[in-house]
Structures are given as C-alpha cells and as structure tokens.
C-alpha cells in the first residue's frame, strides 16, 4: 500500500500540483459567478481552499514518519496555498470592499479577525519568496528550515481567523483549528523526541 502510493507519487511530476492548483482557482472563480453574491462566495471559497491546501502542505512531513514520501510536492503545494490566500485577499480588497480605501483601512486596523488574517498572510510572504532552490542555497539549509517553521504559526493564525469570523461558533472552523494545532503539537513532540535521542 505505502509502496504503491510512493511509486505513483514518483511517476507524477511536481508541476502537476501547479496545473491542478491553477485549474482549481479558475473553477472556483467560474462557479462563483452563478451565485447571488459572487464576491462573498468567491472570497469565502478561496479562503477555505487556501486553508485546506496550507494544511495539506503541513501534512507532508508527518506523513513521512509513516513511510509516505510526498516531499517533492511540498513546495508546489505551499505555493498554491499562498496563491489562494493572495487571491482571497485580492477578492476582499477589489471585489468585496470594492477599493473603498478608507473603509479598507478602518477594517485593517479595527477588526481583530482581519488583523489576524493579515498577520497570517504577511507571515506567508517570506516563505513564498524563499520557496526556490536559489534561495535555499543563499540562506543555507538550516536557516531556510528555521524560516519555514513559520508555516505552522501562519496556518494556525489563518485557522484562528476562520474561528473568529463565525456569527456562531461552527464545528467546521473548530475542526480546522484542531487539525492545525494537532499538526503543530505532533511536530513539537517529534522534535523533542529527536532531541532526547541525540542528547
């Protein structure tokens, strides 16, 4: 079973993720058009898909502990997650708040859920910028690894942002939050175990 997954993965080139991601974004935009409130539907769908892809990216490392090797897809997945969140932000600025800059500024300073979302987005920017071989070389593997640990707090902030939006607390947003928190804790426990073993 594991072998089958790994072998299939070996045969699929990593750029498939980019093609699938861009196709999914196009589909999300297209299917929003026929809804009564397309700007809001698009904004929310992009946010949800972005969060899902970021969580999938964080799953690659723990999957390796269990022998599933999808490492070669991680960069593409992370970048696609970032693309969805960037589109989510663009939709908010251009289509939802419709470039009403004074209102946008008020929202960015006054609304805790927007501020948390923005912090998450800002934290993702250095990760996106350094997701290429040249940058890994320039930073060195250790510093690059340390920097990319930011993916955890950034995704967690994205999930917190989702929880904060609800008019009522929904199980859905709580599950996303639990998933990211679980991944973060699993990662920490693993790191501690490793430290103990090497000590």
């Amino acid at each position: 079973m594991l072998n089958a997954i790994n072998q299939t993965a070996r045969r699929i080139p990593a750029y498939t993720i980019y093609i699938a991601g861009i196709a999914l974004a196009a589909w999300v935009i297209f299917s929003s058009l026929s809804t009564p409130d397309p700007a809001k539907v698009l904004e929310r769908t992009l946010g949800t898909r972005g969060l899902q892809i970021l969580i999938a990216t964080l799953c690659i490392t723990p999957l390796r502990w269990y022998g599933v090797n999808l490492l070669k897809f991680r960069r593409a997945l992370g970048l696609m997650g970032f693309m969805f969140i960037a589109l989510h932000l663009t939709t908010w600025v251009v289509l939802d708040l419709a470039l009403r800059w004074s209102e946008i500024l008020t929202e960015l300073t006054k609304r805790p859920f927007i501020i948390v979302g923005m912090l998450a987005f800002v934290a993702l920017i250095p990760l996106a910028v350094t997701s290429n071989n040249a940058m890994i070389e320039r930073l060195g593997a250790l510093r690059w690894k340390r920097l990319h640990w930011l993916a955890y707090p950034a995704t967690l902030a994205g999930a917190v942002h989702f929880v904060m939006i609800g008019k009522v607390y929904t199980l859905e947003s709580a599950l996303y939050f639990a998933a990211v928190a679980g991944l973060l804790i699993a990662r920490r426990l693993k790191a501690r175990k490793k430290a103990l073993q090497t000590a």
Partner: protein, 299 residues
Amino acid sequence: MSYLPEYTPADVTPPQMFLNRRALIAGAAALTVASPARAGSPYSTDEVPNTFEDITTYNNYYEFGYDKADPAAYAGKLKTDPWSVVVDGLVDNPGTYSLSDLIAGQPIEERIYRFRCVEAWSMIVPWQGFQLSGLLQKLGVQAGAKYVAFETIVRPDEMPGISGSMIDWPYREGLRLDEAMHPLTIMATGLYGKPMPNQNGAPIRLIVPWKYGFKSVKAIVRISLVAEQPVTTWNTLAANEYGFYANVNPEVDHPRWSQASERRIGGGLFAGRIDTVKFNGYGDQVASLYTGQDLTKDY
C-alpha cells in the same frame, strides 16, 4: 392558496414587468391612464427588485443550516399547511388561530421594500402582505402591552439545522408596540405574487424594512403582547453585536465589520458596494419613533 384572499393571479405584477416598473410609472403619469389597475403602494420603493431566484436562494434561516444555500435546499420538507398561530399575553382575543382565521379580513397588498441584512448585503423584494397594525387592532391590544414578541416554528424533523446547533430555539424576535403599529411594518404571506416560499419564511413572516433582516422573523407560530422588552435570539447570543432595536445604521458598526456600506445582491462579481442609508432609507417615516433615544446605545 387560501391564505392569499383577494389576490388572484391576474392582480400580480408578472416578474418581467417589474423590470419596467419605473418606465411604467413614468408612462402612466404622462398619459394619465384611466385604468386604476393595481396602483402601487406609496410605501413601495421604485428600485428594481432582485430576481425571484436571488431572493429564494440566498437566505439566512439557521433552522435549515448555516449556509445561505441551505434553506433553499432543505426548506421544502417543512409542512406549512395546516398552520396555527398562538396569540397570547395582553390581548382581548387570545387563542390558537388557524392561519386563515388569523389573517381573515386583512387587506393584502404588494410592498416593494429594501431588505438590508446585518451582514452588509441587501436586496429589493416585492412582498405581499398586510400591515401588522391591522392584525393587532383585530386582536385587541390591552393597555399594559408595550411590546410584541414573535416566535418561529421548531420542527427538528423538518428543519435539519435545529439539532446540533448551539442556538436556544425557538427563534425569538420582538418589536416595541409603536414600531409594530407603524404602517411600514407588515406581515408577509408571499413574494413576487406567489405564496411565500418556505425558505423565505412561509407561511407568514414579519417584515420591518428599516431594521436589519434578522428582526423580520419567519414562519411565525406565536404572537405575544407583553409589558416588558422580550428576549430575542441574536441579542441573547451576542448582546454587544446585535441589539434589540437593530435599526439599519451606517454610523454604528457591527464589532466585526463596518455597516457603512453594503453589497447589493444581483449585480454580479464586480457590483461593488453602495453606501448604507440610516434606517435603510426609511428615515422620513420612522426616525421620529426614536427621538430622544441615543441610537449608538440603543443599537
């Protein structure tokens, strides 16, 4: 249906004619057409209504689920016939009324109103209904009554959103008596000349066009006249976010978003926003109800 008396299909403005309402009115004025065919209510807006599809597929009705598409998907299961409404509290004629008895004698007319949701979107809806004031007169409001409280039906078997939600059902709303008696306040039994679709609150719902949509309680099964300000659902869930009055007011933000502007449904992806008007544009008629009240406190 029996609860749409005095309202035959011939009276109904067909949907496609709504688009030309402005032109029709202008034309009628120019020609001074003699035919008194269904003059529009002076309380109606001449803005172009949203499509039937928009109005019936984008609904907040948490008894059917949190998603705005859920009511259209699941509300078909709700049985609205037979229907009865309990009238109690400080009234001369309390009792359990069948829907047709309750609304018997109330003149049903079309009211095209702006509808502004607390979530900063809005629509134009051609409702059919009658003034709540007429019903309250029939029921006989007693001297001590100061508020009207409403409750929505609770049928977990027919309303899949009820179980597993943290809301303490039934959905409750209320109005001050002067708000309830205002001629803009209607009990609606239909829209676009059709019986009220289930997802829009069939068979009978409240419409208070100068307040956020959540005040306009759907599928009413209880009307109580009371002396004290009634407990209301959203106010109980988050008192700092949803006040009892809930008048549309661009100057008072919801803590999590601005109320200064709104997305008008139906304009497509690039529709943008329009400025929100205090009292949803009905200030000339209703602002006087609140003289002396600080609406930043009584939000």
